[in-house]
Amino acid sequence: MQVPAPVEYARAISVEHAIGLLGRLGEEARLIAGGHSLLPMMKLRLANPEYLVDINDLHAELGYIEVGPTEVRLGAMTRHRELLESDPLAAVCPIFRDAERVIADPPVRNRGTLGGALCQADPSEDLSSVCTALDASCVIQGADGVRVVPMDDFHRGPYETAVGHAEILTEVRIPIRPGGSSAYAKVDRRAGDWAVVAAGAALWLDEHATIADARVGLAAVGPHTTHLPEVSRALRGREPSEAAWELAGGIAASACRPVTDSRGSADYKRHLAGELTRRTLRTAWERARERGGASWR
């Protein structure tokens, strides 16, 4: 029987209240949102907070998807299901719907949140790669105010983020640049399982339909793979082509550090990293052309 260790519980009624509670309760206090990362870790006694500050009542304040002309703003309490079902979000960032379709399962998606996934920073978790591919920034609020941190700095490694004690991730901001689109793909053993390997790609075309920029992130193949800058360097200025995707796939396969486990051998995962990189870049490019209309063809 798996049950968490004894813990005290408080409910926050606003972001400021949550920050105040965390500050007052000390280092052993943790925020709980959907709870689908933290509670399993508490059951396994891998996490043993003394206090839980429940922020589910902040969904009204922090659960939103705002798609503007130059930026998408996602509240940190937005649940997986809301990200999956949002048509405006899928129109500008199709990578979200691709990823959310394969994140856990429907009952889990009803509870789990964007902020919870990013703050857990599990190396097999999908949304860190998604947000990093999209060049997103995270809004972190503390007693002293608000700071905005790019995903590259936010995600520091497995289970580690830029969010300090008595701080809360409130929002994710995604810039919308012209000529862009995105895609995500995962190989898993069965519905709802963690990824064997997953890849996300975002790509932007310039007015000549060459690649202005491209970003690829991998999940489940090592500690620092949410962004592969060497892929971006190799693709910028190139013509979109099978040769370009091939090149990127090769770089991704050699840049990751998978380990052999029950989900597959390191070699197999490396193969998947390359293949999924090629597929997601190809899909992102096809979508960017469709969105751009005739001028991108």
């Binding site: 004894p6 519980y9 709980i32 399993p40 399962d105 429907p106 009952p107 889990v108 509870r111 519905a191």
Partner: protein, 153 residues
């Protein structure tokens, strides 16, 4: 919280999981307790009308919210169409996954009264039937969709 339409108030330890609260505090043992790791889905209940895995929700977190368990499906001696469908189409063998399957099916039909087979499979994709009776479960949910008034007619 409200459980199956009744307001219940209890003092509980913060670490008590919703599944144990329902079973041990309220005696509602229709909700099954399975894998403990939010994989198997036998503990699915409706939380503000949507399926959640009650092994991964603290009872205190559900305070002020509306929870429905399998015990709420039958009403005044009349089975819910999804219960009737599981009987008509042999949607259960050992019955261990059934209460969770029924609740997901109910939530699905409340949202989409005429779901396709693919939609049904997606809706129950977070739940495991170890008798592997998925085809019969999908047929049972379709039966319920086609008989929204239940067994009559």
């Amino acid at each position: 919280m409200t459980v199956n339409g009744e307001v219940v108030t209890r003092d509980v330890e913060a670490r008590l999981l919703l599944v144990h609260f329902l079973r041990d505090e309220l005696g509602l043992t229709g909700t099954h307790w399975g894998c403990d790791t939010s994989n198997c889905g036998t503990c699915v209940v409706l939380y503000d009308d949507e399926p959640v895995k009650s092994c991964t929700v603290l009872a205190v977190m559900a305070g002020g919210h509306d929870v429905r368990t399998v015990e709420s499906l039958e009403w005044e001696g009349q089975l819910d169409p999804v219960q009737q469908g599981f009987m008509e189409c042999h949607g259960l063998q050992c019955g261990f996954c059934t209460s969770g399957m029924l609740m997901s099916a109910r939530a699905l039909l409340d949202r989409d009264p005429d779901p396709s087979e693919a939609t049904i499979r997606e809706a129950i994709s977070g739940q495991i039937c170890r008798c592997t009776g998925y085809a019969s479960i999908v047929r049972s949910v379709r039966w319920a969709a086609e008989h929204p008034a239940g067994g009559v007619g």
